[in-house]
Amino acid sequence: MKLSGAQIVIECLNAQKVETIFGFPGGAVIPLYDALYDAKYPMKHYRTCHEQGAVHAADGYARTTGKVGVCIVTSGPGATNTITGIATAYMDSVPLVIITGQVGRPLLGRDSFQEVDITAMTLTITKHCEMVKTASQIESTLMRAFEIARSGRPGPVLIDIPKDIMIQVAEYRGEVMKPNSVHQELDHEAIQIAIDALKNAKNPVILAGGGVGLASASNVLKEFAARSNIPVVNTLMGSGAFPQSHHLSYGLIGMHGSVAANSCLSNSDVILAIGARFSDRVVGASEKFCSGAKIIQVDIDINEVGKNKEIMYPIVGDLGKVLSIFSEKLDGYRWESRSDAGKKCDVDHKAKQMLSAIRQTFGEDAIVVTEVGQHQMWTAQYYGFEKTRKFITSGGLGTMGFGLGAAIGSQIGNPEQTVVHIAGDGSFKMNSNELGTVSKYNIPIKTFVINNNALGMVRQWQRMFCESRFSETDGDDSVDFVKLAEAYGIAGYRVKSQEELEAVLKKIKNNKSPVVVDCIIDHDENVYPIIPPGKGITEMVTAFETLKREVSL
């Protein structure tokens, strides 16, 4: 079948069963949008207000549905606006296909209007990127892009298509690509050695990371933990990998992890890490991290094992498969229950109470999307996640402004579920323009701005590490979020107390329309515990103290 390059793009998206596209048009993608004009149900394009929002939306869609997120933008500024979104997805291993328009081939390399070398710019933040050179290559390139994005360790793929190629006619073959399941042979000997090490453990622990959700291995994990009675701690990205209400769960570890989780981890002699990369936010000072423990690290990506921490027992492979083998070979092994000491958390403050009221209203099945800062950490600490794909947050890059776009994508991908967007006032201001998208498509996201009128997380560090010299982190009350919401035709509320919040929650609980609730809290509320950067996980600080100026921020 002879089609234009642009039509071939749409056919490929159809072949990949893409129903949802996020994007923003422009000169270099006019042919593509022209072809999109004829696209049939169920394919639907959502136009965001900014390309960054489009990528975050595709990202939220992918994280919550497990499908590949798709995004189309124009050349030049359209393409550069995607960069933060792409890097965010890359750091958290989210499968995306980003299609960028490019100036026509005769104009390449001449500093033409809206020409940037986007493949060069995104080399180190994509799993793969390439420019298509002829119309006849579009089909194979795009089909392969989807395969690359979702296979193995997922990640974003960028395909740059020059405008003249979109108009060129080529043969569309409609070939079905065999999923190139790069079958990874498991190293059974390595697995056996690790299992033997675990058998000899006195106090083993399972460390669940974001990979558990990506590999859909949480059921296998639950079963294995329950059978062996091994306690489970989770990283930020591993929130929900194991139900946090389970008696074996000790909760969040790392910089803002709980006392119970961090001490459970540091009192263990064997750590079974599943899909966790031992980032600096988890490990703190690498040499002080669980120095007495033997570490078994299971990951799909060979480049992850031992990257941040010396590993005694590396295992590369599919997490579910490896865990099943552990489960099978350790049948009958049951460890003694560990102490519950420290599990009851006695920290209490307004933000925590507010989050708990939100949790009670919307329940464990709601998808919770955050921005970046204190509100994000409080959500991870106190919300209580029971399932994977429910806590959507920018863990790796820590992108302020991620939340609203990601909430849009999450809601569109899961129309039957409630999407709760927990924002900070600073982060919300970064991409609040996407309220335009929320309003346009009437996307019933529930936004709660945990408003401390401050760049709270940075302010907290200045308080702790810079003798309270608050440099550029205090807010100025410059935006009235209620009026802002109303300007977009969205209901806005302001609440100053728990009672006010509960009254609003009652009102909006069953609403099928978007809402913004501005929740006022104090700017001196801090996130505790905190392990100061460069410190070991036993050097946790649980209440305010001014610490030495940090060199390794």
């Binding site: 493949t119 060069a120 180190t124 990127c129 480049n303």
Partner: protein, 76 residues
């Protein structure tokens, strides 16, 4: 001690750029880079000599090996 890896890659500058950018980010010091088109098979040979700095040579081989459009990697 310097060690050299040899990869068979798609004959596109982007592949070489991605490989070298990754190695740079991981802190390797590259002493010699040579990319040569393989006229027969439309691919290219990419030889990179690394100084004994940064993570281990095995990590470098694994890193390069995982790049899409890198077909094989070996030490020479």
């Amino acid at each position: 001690m310097e060690r050299t890896l040899r990869a068979y890659i798609e004959n596109e500058p982007e592949v070489m750029m991605r490989v070298t950018a990754l190695l740079k980010r991981k802190g390797y010091s590259m002493r010699k880079i040579l990319m040569e088109a393989d006229e027969l098979k439309s691919g290219a040979w990419l030889n990179i000599t690394l100084a004994d700095e940064g993570p281990t040579f095995t990590v470098a081989m694994n890193t390069v090996g995982k790049v899409v459009d890198v077909h094989t990697v070996e030490e020479i």
